[in-house]
């Protein structure tokens, strides 16, 4: 099971899903009306490391975070 968390202003409860790659997760999230509009704006972290490869394989227990646009300071 993969845990998905939505950070900052997305305002959605965590999800738990069965997927083996980020691409599969993207397909699931794109069907969710609350989330689909955020996908083009969000960076993705796996276990708190930002990732750049959509084909990355996932393992049970991994934590995925969606990070929307930031503005610290």
């Amino acid at each position: 099971m993969i845990k998905v968390e939505f950070l900052g202003p997305i305002g959605k409860e965590n999800l738990e899903v069965e997927v083996s790659t980020l691409s599969e997760l993207g397909e699931i999230l794109s069907k969710d009306d609350e989330i689909s509009e955020w996908l083009s704006k969000c960076a993705i972290a796996v276990n708190d490391e930002i990732v750049f490869n959509k084909d990355r394989e996932l393992q049970s227990g991994d934590k995925i975070s969606l990070l929307p646009p930031v503005c610290g300071g």
């Binding site: 950070l7 980020l22 996908l39 969000c42 960076a43 930031v70 503005c71 300071g73």
Partner: protein, 145 residues
């Protein structure tokens, strides 16, 4: 080190503490940057969310950059509400030489604005409104679109 405060940062106390902790360590330059909430666009203040695990990793990478140049960084940020004319952000660089410190504070603060996982909201009429138009996508955004 990153210090996270609930609400406004106690600026004088924090700067004084940082100054005292480093002043005998032979750094010739100490450059603090203090960000203060301005009275504009009828806001009552700002509010912040922080994702600490990635913030700390991001900061440690910059601390390594600083170390390679003989310098040292400190940073403090608020979470929750910060009202007008209070401060939500301080960063500082300590370095043997001024040129390294001036360049590093500029690079560090610019990357902070682009990549530190912190979200800003305007406080307006008692509501907390995401400052999306002032926000920047983190490097690598759009991977799952």
């Amino acid at each position: 080190m990153v210090e996270i405060f609930e609400g406004a940062i106690p600026v004088e106390e924090t700067l004084s503490k940082w100054y005292k902790s480093e002043k005998s360590r032979n750094y010739g330059a100490f450059i603090p940057f203090v960000g203060t909430v301005r009275d504009e666009d009828s806001i009552e203040g700002l509010s912040f969310d922080i994702y600490e695990p990635i913030l700390l990793k991001w900061f440690e990478k910059w601390q390594e950059v600083a170390k390679e140049r003989g310098a040292f960084l400190k940073m403090a940020h608020s979470k929750g509400d910060v009202l007008l004319h209070e401060s939500s952000y301080i960063s500082a660089v300590f370095s043997p030489k001024r040129r390294v410190a001036l360049e590093l504070i500029d690079e560090f603060v610019e990357d902070f604005k682009k990549n530190a996982p912190i979200w800003k909201y305007d406080l307006k009429n008692g509501k907390r409104i995401y400052a999306e138009e002032r926000s920047q996508k983190i490097a690598g955004s759009g991977l799952l679109k």
